[in-house]
């Protein structure tokens, strides 16, 4: 248990493939089946599952989070044995692989299409089956007093599209089923054939709120693939950008949760703090959401002395104002009454789905990619990863609050220790395969890229944290009242675009 080498030793029976920094092994079908058997006893978490034409890949990390590896299986017959019964987080990923690469997951237990709503234009490798978009066989809950509530894809608020099918008994939710894929844009296929710098712009738009995190994961994967060194100052600036993104999103989320519990006062004040962060980002980096600032090879913009002073002043201003607002949250019994005990995710489920971010950390799973496997400069920074175990809306809110404080501390540390020097270095020529895991505000983002010898993207995968969080929302709402769904949903704030690809 937790012995970092066990995972790699097990997979090393396969043929080693040139992937950096973590190894990839191509297993025979018998070895893949062995892996499936071993997954019943091993506590390895599934980090991602994706495919390219004729081959499927699955990334794992061991319980300590220190060892990582990718297992691959060639699928000459167009099928692969499913992992879904052993690692439930694999289910939707496999359904997506079926839709996008026409590889069948045998034994998956749920053969319904996922991202494919029967509307796409035909292209090689994908099944272009024209059928009505509404043709989808929702799971049922049957009983005399049950009724259905269909919601979406166009929702009542300013949010992304998705469909929620509720089965209810009076006010209580008996079953919620999600149908996603509405904003599938074919982002990964658009990246193919593009130079890394162009593909990075697409990575930065996988999910607008996580533009820094996804662009950083992609850049790190490209840099690993090409064995390119990144200037030290760029590494520190990237962490600065990532922490500012985390702060801005958490401030917005905490306010939005309060708003869904009808406490607009708190949201109003938190949106002011969020706006202060975005304006500072705009002045320092030229973009409010910091899009296109992280590039393979470094960052696009340096931070000057005035910018650093501005960010220092921002952190100093945010500390007391945020503390005052959180004290108000904790002092309102009618507000806390809505969040405590609502939408509980049991720690066992968070573990089984390898849920990251505040969803995992509010349910006892302390995984944070900045700590394990870790990446620079976080190994030289001092910060705590908060973990709670109640798994309710309140815990997810508190995790965010503690992370805002930790990130403010990180911003101050980074500004105090920013090394000087260049912020960009051209990538080394050539191709290769790289993989990276980066902690975004929602949780760990996995990026994998295979570059052709001319440096263009041959194949890429970006796995948003939401893949392993969306299914837990279905579990969290069970037995809660319909009116608490917005509250539960906001406490998850999963990405639609990041998930739909």
């Amino acid at each position: 248990m937790g012995n970092g080498t066990e995972l790699i030793d097990f997979l090393a029976r396969g043929e080693a493939r040139p992937q950096r920094p973590w190894p990839r092994f191509r297993l025979s079908r018998a070895q893949w089946l062995d892996l499936l058997t071993h997954l019943t006893i091993a506590d390895w978490a599934l980090l991602g599952l994706w495919a390219e034409p004729g081959e499927v890949h699955a990334a794992f990390c061991d319980a300590s989070g220190a060892a990582m590896a990718v297992a691959s299986l060639a699928c000459p017959e167009g099928d692969f044995p499913s992992l879904a019964t052993l690692r439930p987080g694999a289910l939707r990923l496999e359904r997506a692989v079926q839709d996008l690469f026409a590889l069948a997951a045998t034994g998956i237990g749920d053969g319904r299409p996922w991202l494919d709503h029967g509307q796409w234009r035909a292209r090689d490798g994908a099944r272009a089956r024209a059928r009505p978009a509404s043709d989808y066989d929702f799971l049922r809950a049957e009983g005399e007093a049950l009724h259905q509530i269909p919601v979406g894809p166009v929702h009542a608020g300013i949010i992304e599209p998705g469909h929620f099918r509720f089965h209810c008994s009076g006010e209580a939710v008996v079953r919620l089923e999600q149908r996603l894929g509405y904003v599938h844009k074919g982002t990964l296929s658009l990246m193919q054939g593009k130079p890394a710098a162009t593909a990075a712009r697409l990575a930065g738009r996988l999910s607008g709120d996580s533009t820094v995190a996804v662009a950083l994961a992609f850049a790190r994967a490209v840099e690993a693939a090409t064995e390119s060194a990144v200037p030290e100052r760029a590494i520190w600036l990237r962490a600065l950008l990532a922490e500012l993104e985390r702060i801005a999103n958490h401030l917005g989320d905490i306010g939005a949760i309060a708003n869904d519990a009808a406490f607009v006062f708190l949201q109003s004040h938190l949106t002011v703090l969020r706006e202060m962060v975005l304006r500072a980002a705009d002045q320092c980096f030229g973009h409010r959401l910091m899009m296109d600032v992280v590039l393979p090879g470094g960052v696009a913009r340096d931070l000057d002395g005035a910018g650093a002073a501005r960010l220092r002043a921002l952190a100093a201003a945010l500390w007391p104002r945020f503390a005052e607002l959180m004290a108000i949250y904790e002092s309102k019994p009618s507000l806390v009454d809505r969040t405590v005990g609502t939408g509980i995710v049991h720690p066992e489920l968070a573990q089984r789905f390898a849920a990251g971010g505040f969803v995992g950390r509010a349910s006892g799973r302390g995984f944070d990619a900045r700590k394990h496997p870790g990446y620079p400069p976080y190994d030289r920074l001092d910060f705590a990863v908060p973990v709670l175990s109640d798994g309710d809306v309140h815990s997810r809110l508190l995790i965010r609050a503690r992370e805002v404080e930790a990130s403010l501390g990180l911003v101050e540390q980074i500004l105090g220790r920013l090394p000087s020097g260049p912020v960009f270095a051209p990538l080394a020529a050539g191709g290769g395969e790289g993989v990276a895991l980066v902690e975004g505000f929602r949780g760990d983002v996995l990026a994998w890229v295979a570059l052709a010898p001319d440096g263009r993207v041959r194949q890429a995968q970006l796995r948003d944290p939401s893949w392993f969080q969306w299914p837990l929302l279905e579990a969290a709402i069970e037995g809660n009242i319909v009116a608490d769904f917005p509250l539960c949903n906001k406490s998850f704030n999963c990405s639609y675009s990041g998930h739909d690809l």
């Binding site: 166009v154 009542a156 904003v183 599938h184 844009k185 982002t187 738009r205 607008g208």
Partner: protein
């Protein structure tokens, strides 16, 4: 909380001054609005936002319109929960194949007279996502568009200036 409220009352208000509408936006609108529509809608518009495939970047900035700095409602503009209550559809994203029908249905559910504002570079022509097997194109590929507000994503100030252009045009028609 009361202390903070009192402090807020005594400090300078946050809202920014109204930005001037861009000339290009006024020109785009001028030819498109029927006099009858202007007269009926006046200076108050209800907006229904529809994400037809965006990365969520545009939604974040549309959200910001409601914060105390931009305070959209002071101009008579407000977001509503149903297309049946809306005068304006604020549509973001390259329209994905999977959202096409939902956008068409939302448009059909919005009572006349109505305007469509396409928000963001993707909403103009598909932007970075143009040419994908899963993307239909810009918003105008599916429903008629009255005004484009560009940007990736447009800043709240730019959004505000576009929406004010809509109000200006509506008011002039009375």
């Amino acid at each position: 909380m009361w202390k903070l409220l009192a402090k807020t009352l005594l400090t300078k208000p946050l809202p920014i001054a109204a930005p001037a509408p861009e000339e290009a936006q006024l020109a785009e609108l001028a030819g498109r609005l029927a006099v009858a529509a202007r007269a009926r809608l006046g200076r108050s518009l209800s907006i229904r936002q529809v994400d037809a495939g965006s990365c969520n970047g545009c939604e974040l900035e549309i959200h910001a319109l409601n914060n105390p700095f931009y305070d959209l409602e002071r101009f008579g503009l407000r977001f509503v929960a149903s297309p049946r209550h809306a005068d304006v559809l604020l549509v973001t994203g390259p329209v994905t194949a999977n959202m096409r029908e939902a956008l068409e249905r939302t448009y059909a559910a919005t009572p006349d007279p109505k305007w469509v504002v396409a928000v963001g570079d993707c909403a103009r022509d598909g932007g970075l996502f143009a040419g994908s097997y899963a993307v239909v194109g810009g918003v105008s590929a599916v429903v008629p568009v009255d005004l484009h507000i560009g940007g990736c994503p447009p800043s709240p100030t730019r959004l505000l200036s576009g929406l004010l252009a809509l109000l200006e045009t509506a008011a002039r028609g009375r």
